[in-house]
Amino acid sequence: MAETDTGRVVLVTGVSRDLARRCGRALAEDPGVRRVIGVDVAPPTGDVGAMSFVRADVRSPVIAKVVAAEDVDTVVHLGVIATPGGAGGRSTMKEHNVLGTMQLLAACQRSPQVRRLVVKSTTTVYGSSSRDPAMFTEDMEPRRVPRSGYAKDVVEIEGYVRGFARRRPDCTVTTLRCANVVGPHVRSPFTSYLRLPVVPRVAGFDPRLQVLHEDDLQAAVVHAVARALPGTFNVAGAGVLPLSQVLRRLRRPSVPMPAMAVGRLGSLTDQVRISDFSPELLALLTHGRGVDTTAMRDVLGFEPRWTSATTVADFATTLSPTGGHLERVLGSLSDRLPPVPPSPRPARPALAAVAPTAAGGEGRG
């Protein structure tokens, strides 16, 4: 399996961001990996573990020198960013994403040692529209080709990656199209949207959402590095949840408003850096998206530990609920009533002792 006796040398890009840093750390703990080199323009903000950090800009030819000097044989490209964030404006982001990927691929093509490339892409490439099939498989094209922003960047990046795979047939290229990553540590436009105390919703639409837990993203990257399986795979937790259900489970009150108003509000919250409503996010929040993960299970052989539902539940534990008042009222009401006979579902057994007296009290009232 391993190319060298001593294990692989892995280069991870974009490690200044939390997810990539965690992936790098997890890779460094993998027994098949000898060394992990993290690369980014900014130093990582947290614990990098056994990963070593090299400050280099993927947009510059320096990256080729790093690849050559460190005898890198596996490149994990996690440096595609969804938000400009601290990096600057949209043009910086595009430069970082597209030109950075081009430089990196050029460096990989030049170096004969590189045998594996793992690229984290996103299911955003499928877009979101009313004409979408319920579940996208990897061979489906987006119904509406994204013409701007992150989605367009990713479409272009995937194009360059396919070109690289053609030019370097000896190199195994794995593209992971990950669903929206959600987890206690994730800071993305999607999670900051869910973290809003009162969540604006597009009125009249209840999009189906499929999410991936941050731990599963790490596991998927480690898995893809360990097994060299060429191809493109959707990576997402099992099951879909409508947005309304997600918000109910997070105990978040929501305000339905017209799509245009949500967009307007998004640009407002963007200015004050609370949340960022890109057009892709707005489309996702209107029409939703589901992806088929059969290939991930059968071909890639990866099984996420978290489903969409358990991911949301885990995310909910780190959020202080801002809603749920109605639920508490109903809860206190049903506490006063006798326990439900277990016809539809096993009901709260703990209430059995309290309920009769409470009900009697009400009955007398």
Binding site: M135, V202, G324, L330, A359
Partner: protein, 409 residues
């Protein structure tokens, strides 16, 4: 007789109509106990107030407790029929207008002063009325359902189908319309397999897709299976309709989704005429339109599921389409703007569907698993099967129409 004929309106016979405690002098002049000061103590009036319970000064209303405001309306309405003596007959009724202080606006609130005990009694009465004798467990179950809904503790499938909501809310609200309004009659329900995938192909009519909803209700009630509709993309662009359609189990009519559902063993419903069928003029009723490109047949062939033809009679008459506004329809991006004899002339009233009698018949299933594997890519076979399904539905429609005595019969 003269002063007894005052019919109290609004203030229940008590003088004054403003917010103040002191009515105008004109109002005081009209009141039966005109000579007295309005805030005077009860029981001294000339109209008699000798009753024991009226000697109490009526100053604090809250102290009077439950009895205080209740008799007030009854005495007012009792006085209405025009028995003049009644107003003066203070002692019998326990409050006469004369013996009370002026009304304030706070007291005029409809819920003002209804005691807590009455509320609870009314609540228990209502609960017993709605849920029957076993109202407490029933209500608890109802609350548990709502609690489960608002905490998101339910499951939807990959297409967004919310079975609990569909069964307990959507189908339940459509059922009266199906049973009482359209008096739906479904025949041939035994043709629907108990398990496994099947494709129900139906004619489409009625200006808005009520026929699809009614078929879903009827087939679910008879066979216990949910019909998963394949809907046009317009459905998923409309706010409100979009989210409801997904929750009711519909998905986009494309071959990917159709095949995925059929492979998953679902009972899928398709209306291949689409907008051509649903928006055809009343003159063309029960004339099947073109059956699309036969995509539904190739989906069935690929998955090897039977095709069950469904003929619906009755949906054509619910909104007789006599006209269209193509220019406006183009402007709004919808296939047509319906004009019926009642819509838009009668406004919302014109949206009430006519109560036609509906007959639904499921035909003999057409097997598709006998063809060789590549059959779905043979266009001639696809056309043949499409025509076979279309002819079956058309013939059944004619038979059902002959059988039906009248449109509303």
């Amino acid at each position: 007789m003269g002063d007894a004929e005052i019919i109290p309106i609004g203030t229940r016979g008590r003088p004054g109509r403003g917010t103040g405690t002191r009515p105008s002098s004109a109002a005081r002049g009209l009141a039966p106990g005109a000579r007295r000061s309005p805030s005077g103590t009860g029981g001294t009036g000339a109209d008699g107030g000798t009753g024991g319970d009226h000697d109490v000064p009526p100053a604090p209303r809250s102290a009077d407790g439950p009895q205080d405001p209740r008799p007030d309306p009854t005495s007012g309405t009792a006085a209405d029929p025009g028995s003049p003596a009644h107003v003066a007959d203070g002692p019998g009724a326990d409050s006469s207008p004369a013996g009370r202080p002026a009304t304030t606006t706070a007291e005029r609130h409809p819920l003002g002063g209804v005691p807590v005990g009455d509320w609870l009694a009314a609540f228990r009465h209502g609960a017993a009325e709605v849920f029957g004798d076993q109202w407490e467990p029933q209500l608890a179950r109802f609350l548990a359902f709502w609690r489960r809904r608002i905490t998101g503790d339910y499951a939807v499938d990959d297409f967004g189908f919310d079975q609990e909501l569909t069964e307990r809310f959507l189908l339940a609200s459509l059922r009266p319309l199906a049973q009482k309004w359209f008096r739906l009659e479904l025949r041939g329900a035994h043709h629907v397999p108990a398990t496994g995938g099947a494709l129900i192909v139906s004619n489409h009519s009625g200006t808005i897709p009520v026929d699809g909803l009614m078929s879903m209700v009827a087939i679910h009630d008879r066979t216990g299976r949910h019909v998963r509709a394949l809907a046009a993309d317009l459905v998923f662009t409309l706010p409100g309709v979009s989210s409801l359609a997904r929750k009711a189990g519909a998905t986009l009519a494309c071959h990917e989704d159709a095949e995925r559902m059929l492979r998953g063993g679902e009972l899928v419903g398709v209306w291949p005429e689409g907008f051509k069928g649903i928006g055809k003029p009343y003159a063309d009723r029960y004339k099947l339109q073109r059956f699309g490109r036969g995509g539904f047949v190739s989906a069935a062939l690929r998955t090897g599921v039977p095709i069950i033809p469904l003929s619906v009679v009755g949906a054509e008459e619910i909104y007789p389409l006599v006209g269209n506004i193509p220019a406006l329809a183009r402007l709004l991006g919808v296939p047509y703007i319906p004009i019926t004899p009642f819509f838009p002339w009668l406004g919302p009233l014109g949206m009430v569907p006519l109560p036609s009698k509906w007959l639904l018949e499921l035909g003999e299933p057409i097997r598709t698993d006998e063809h060789e594997p590549g059959a779905a890519d043979d266009p001639m076979l696809v056309f043949d099967v499409t025509d076979q399904v279309r002819e079956t539905i058309q013939q059944t429609l004619y038979t059902l129409l002959m059988e039906r005595e009248s449109i509303f019969g």
